[in-house]
Symmetry: D2
Subunit: 140 residues, 4 copies
């Protein structure tokens, strides 16, 4: 079961000459849905700290399977599920649903990092963030 969902419409600039949404845009959409999920928890995916550094979540891996194309002005549901909460990383699964049909599934793995001066350092997920995520994945 999804922890969170948003609805989104295919824009003209997201189509390609084959007349369908370009495959790379699904991964941008999946990220946008994840970020909306963070906001639904009252947090931002990119949290600036008092010392000027930030806690951020760069991708370690992504994948997407495509079952059917999306076309201009299609309205699509994105269902976000917290698939795994690791010590220093997080897995999401995002389903794309058009009508009642699943048209694509994206899976992403993000590492919890402290970012400062353009450098990334992998860190443990802070307890407050872990607690908020765990509450959601229990719903799932």
């Amino acid at each position: 079961m999804a922890a969170f969902q948003i609805t989104r419409r295919v824009q003209f600039s997201e189509t390609d000459m084959a007349g369908v949404m370009h495959f790379s845009n699904y991964l941008r959409w999946a990220e946008d849905a994840e970020h909306a999920f963070w906001r639904s928890l009252g947090m931002s995916v990119h949290q600036t700290q008092e010392d000027g550094s930030a806690i951020s979540w760069p991708r370690v891996a992504v994948e997407c399977q495509y079952a059917a194309p999306l076309r201009f002005e299609d309205e699509v549901e994105l269902r976000v599920r917290v698939a795994e909460i690791g010590e220093k990383s997080l897995r999401f699964e995002i389903e794309f649903v058009l009508g009642r049909k699943r048209v694509a599934t994206a899976r992403t793995k993000a590492a919890c990092c402290r970012v400062a001066g353009g450098q990334f350092r992998s860190v443990e997920i802070p307890p407050a963030i872990r607690a908020a995520l765990a509450a959601c994945s229990h719903e799932g």
Copy 2:
């Protein structure tokens, strides 16, 4: 061993506020490298036929693993390898190399389709295309 390779530079519009290339652009780059590979065989990935239909290669699945970030103006090698030639589909593997370090690996699976009137129909890979691809994968 790679069948083909191109070099490409990270553009400003491809970076994000974390100061690195946005993860979705690797998949666009991988596609661009595949299409350059098709051109190196004297073909286009999107071949219009005499009857107005086209042979095209929509994605069935993509994945990418990220080992290290890319930054503005980095010059990156993309090494394209034909990983599998199926009956109706094709797998590519694309390595991203900066200096001597592999910074990312993308894998894609594309289905051979006849496209007409915005509809896709899966078909067997035409013999001329199969022969050209097989020659390359034997080099690998």
Copy 3:
């Protein structure tokens, strides 16, 4: 006065390494707002006809002035105004408003075209479309 408006949030993938929304995205947003405006009239910007051709609106010219940057997760109002209804073309003006401040203004000119077989032919704006647009610009 605006004929139509939408609200939109800056996504992570729309930022660049300067920490702000990349300038090119304002023009994609302006187009998306125009298309939402067409939908508000019960029409699509890309209308397929019975003979397989389509009435579409390629850009002849665009411009954008930037007064202040937009940042990740900013929520922005886009106000669409029909600036001019010509015989064969249309001008829109789109204001970007953050809080009460206008942060950018885009202006676009689109030509009414019949598209068939990948070719564009400039045509007069069909009467039904003209009437719907005129009603909106009278509101302005």
Copy 4:
């Protein structure tokens, strides 16, 4: 006369469902050509200073006129001209040429800024940069 030029090919992901390059990509290309021009002068458009701040060039205004469409795999020349060197800003003109035909013209105005902590402050163009630019515009 152009101070600098590059050649670039239309990629599949840059096309839209009308079968041509999406209008917003011309402005990304124009920026990429400007940045290649900076590199040809031995400089980067984004110069980090010893104090951690950077000299950068955010857009104040852009415009583009479109005369003819570009299609997948078209190879296009971009001719960059320094149109005006102001006290604190710079204007470029970029022509897009396919075969011998000018298919589009972009004009951009960028402000010389010192960027620190995500804030932009307009500054005079540093003398070394001004001298390098002036040499190019005299060639024109």
